[in-house]
Symmetry: C2
Subunit: 344 residues, 2 copies
C-alpha cells in the first residue's frame, strides 16, 4: 500500500521538496510501527518487571533454547489477594454473609452452631476464626437445593449492587491494575490464562470473563457436589450439601492436573495457599516462572504477610528465595494498584 502511494507520488513529478516530504512521512510511519507501547505501564521499571519480560521473551522466541509452543503456554493465577483485594474479608465471605442475612428467618430456626450464630450477627471476625469448615458450611446453609442456574443468578444480582466496604466501589472494580495488564500481556504472547482459586469455582465463574477475560472453562476452584435431576422432564443440576473438592494448598496442583492434564509453566499467587502450586509449576523442565504478590502497601491497599488470618504469606515467602520466584512489592513495583487512586 505504502509502496503504491510512493510510486504514484513519484510518478507525478519529481521535486526535492516532495521527496523531503515523502521521507518525513515514511519515517513517521515506520517509527509508529516500530514503537511498541509498554504492555505493563502500571509496573515500575525494576527487577520484577524485567523478570516477567525476560521469561515471556525466552519462551516465545522461535528457535530459542527455552521456546515453548503456544499450546503449552499455560499460566495459572490465584484469585483472592493475587488478582483482587481479599481484605478485610474475601468477596465470597461477604457474599455468603449477605446471603445469611437474606435467609435469616429460616436460619434462626435451624441455628445449631456457634459460627452460624456469628454469621447471623454479621460477625466476620468469628467466621474467619472458625476457619474453612465454617465457611463451607455457611455456603451450604444458604444454597443447598438450588440449581446451578439459580445460584448463578443470585451471585450476579449480588455483584451488581454490593460494594467494597473500604474502597467504596463495586467489588468487580477492585482488581489489581498491574495484574490485569500482566494477564493481557501473557495472552497477547499466546498464553492461556487460568484462575485457580480457593474460592468456589461457580462463584468465580460469575465474573471471571467480564472482569479478567478468563472464560468459565478456565476457572478451577473449590467445588461442591452436584446432583443431576429431572424436574418435569427438564434436566437440572442441583447443589448438594457436600464439598467435592477444596482447591487450596496441595489441592491446587492436583486440581490443575485433573482439569488440564498439563503442568503450567507460570504460576502467580500471594499466600501459603499457593505454595504447592508454585512448587509444582516451577519445578517442571525448561523455563518456568513463579511470582508472589507481597501485600506491603498499607496506604494504597493493605499490608500483611507472616501473621495474618487471611492470605498468610510465610513459608512461601521463605521458599521464594531458594526456588528463585519473583516476589513483588505492591508498594515499590506497582505505579498503580487499582484503576482508581486514594483517597477512597
Amino acid at each position: 500500500m505504502i509502496f503504491i502511494v510512493i510510486c504514484c507520488f513519484l510518478g507525478i513529478k519529481k521535486t526535492a521538496s516532495r521527496i523531503l516530504f515523502l521521507f518525513f512521512w515514511c519515517s513517521l510511519a515506520i517509527s509508529a510501527a516500530l514503537a511498541q507501547p509498554d504492555p505493563l505501564p502500571s509496573w515500575t521499571a525494576g527487577e520484577a518487571k524485567q523478570s516477567i519480560v525476560k521469561f515471556v521473551s525466552a519462551v516465545t522466541e522461535s528457535g530459542g533454547r527455552d521456546y515453548v509452543p503456544p499450546s503449552e503456554r499455560i499460566a495459572v493465577f490465584d484469585n483472592d489477594g493475587t488478582l483482587w483485594s481479599e481484605r478485610p474479608a474475601s468477596v465470597e465471605t461477604r457474599f455468603i454473609l449477605d446471603q445469611i442475612q437474606a435467609h435469616r428467618p429460616r436460619l434462626i430456626k435451624a441455628k445449631s452452631r456457634s459460627w452460624l450464630l456469628a454469621a447471623l450477627r454479621n460477625d466476620v471476625d468469628s467466621i474467619l476464626e472458625a476457619g474453612e469448615l465454617a465457611f463451607v458450611e455457611l455456603t451450604m446453609a444458604t444454597h443447598v437445593d438450588r440449581t446451578t442456574d439459580e445460584f448463578d443468578k443470585v451471585v450476579k444480582d449480588w455483584l451488581a449492587t454490593a460494594k467494597h466496604p473500604h474502597f467504596r466501589r463495586p467489588y468487580t472494580d477492585c482488581t489489581y491494575q498491574p495484574m490485569m495488564e500482566l494477564m493481557n500481556y501473557l495472552r497477547a504472547n499466546g498464553f492461556k490464562t487460568y484462575i485457580v482459586s480457593g474460592g468456589g469455582a461457580d462463584f468465580v465463574r460469575c465474573f471471571s470473563e467480564s472482569i479478567y477475560g478468563v472464560p468459565p472453562e478456565q476457572v478451577i476452584g473449590t467445588v461442591i457436589k452436584l446432583r443431576f435431576a429431572l424436574r418435569d422432564r427438564k434436566p437440572v443440576l442441583v447443589r448438594m450439601p457436600k464439598v467435592n473438592f477444596v482447591d487450596n494448598k496441595a489441592g491446587k496442583p492436583v486440581a490443575i492436573f485433573e482439569h488440564t492434564g498439563r503442568r503450567p509453566i507460570a504460576a502467580f499467587g500471594n499466600s501459603d495457599g499457593d505454595l504447592e502450586m508454585l512448587q509444582w509449576v516451577t519445578s517442571g523442565p525448561g523455563a518456568r516462572f513463579g511470582l508472589l504478590v507481597h501485600h506491603d502497601d498499607a496506604d494504597r491497599e493493605f499490608a500483611y504477610d507472616r501473621i495474618s488470618r487471611i492470605g498468610k504469606l510465610d513459608k512461601a515467602l521463605d521458599e521464594a528465595k531458594t526456588r528463585g520466584w519473583t516476589v513483588i512489592s505492591m508498594k515499590n513495583d506497582w505505579n498503580n494498584v487499582f484503576s482508581f487512586s486514594p483517597p477512597y
Copy 2:
C-alpha cells in the same frame, strides 16, 4: 497479487488470444475458490447428514434466530463406541489386562478376588461380567503409587505397539472416519470439541490430541484420586487407590458443568451411559443437537444395541424419538466406517 499479474500481462501487449487465455485462467481461479468441498464425505446424503449441516448453519448464521456466539459453541463427544470401536472390549480394558499380565508375579501373591484371578487368566468375559468396580480395582492394582508422568509413559508405550484383535491394526487407527470429519467440521465452524468419556481422563489424554485433535484440557473422564508429594524436594502427583469420580450416566452432565461452567449445545453418544448428557445438553434454550451412533453394521464393525454388556443402547434409543435426537445407522449413513476397509 492476481491484480498485479493481470496488469503486467495487459501492459505488455494486447491481443485477443491473450485476453481469452486470461479469461480462462481467471474463471478457473474463481471457480476453485467458490467450490466448497464436502466437509463430510464419509456421510451418505440423507436425513442424518442434513440434520447436522442444518444445525451448524443455524447456530453460525450471523444475525439468525438461532445464532450462538463462538465461545458458547461447545460440543461434547463420548469416546468408546462414539469416536472409536469399543468391541470386543474397550481399549482401556485391553490396556488394563495387558498391564495385569505385566504385573503378574506381584499380583499372583496378592490375589484375593475372583476377577483378579480372571484377569490373570486373561478372561475378558468374566471381567466384563464383574462390571465397573472390578474394572476400576484392576486399574488400581496395576498403577497405584505411580506418578502421573510415569503413568503417561506406560500408556503411550503400550499404545505404540498394541493392536486391535479384530481389525489387526493399532488401536489409534480404529477411529470412525465420519466422526473425525464431523469433529473437524464443527471446529471449522468455531466449535470447541470436548471428549466426555467413561474411561480414565488420564488414559484418554494420552492420545486425544494426536488422533482427535482434542487437547488434554478438553478431555473429561473418570478420575482417580491424586496426591501431591515432594520426592527429593521435587513435587510430583501420585496416583492413589481411590476413585475420585466416575464419569458415566448422570455423572457426565455433572462433570461437564464442573469442568466448563457451561451447558454445551451439541452432544454425541452411543449408549445409555450417554443418556443424561444428551438430555441435559439438548434441553437447554435455543438450538440444540443430540446424536446417537447406532451400531448396526456387523460387516464393517459390530452390531449391538438393546441387549449388550458393552455400550448397551436401550433407553436412550427410545428417548431419541421423543426428544428429537438424530440416530445414525452406521450401515446406511456412513460411506466408510474407518480409514481402511474390510476384509481386516
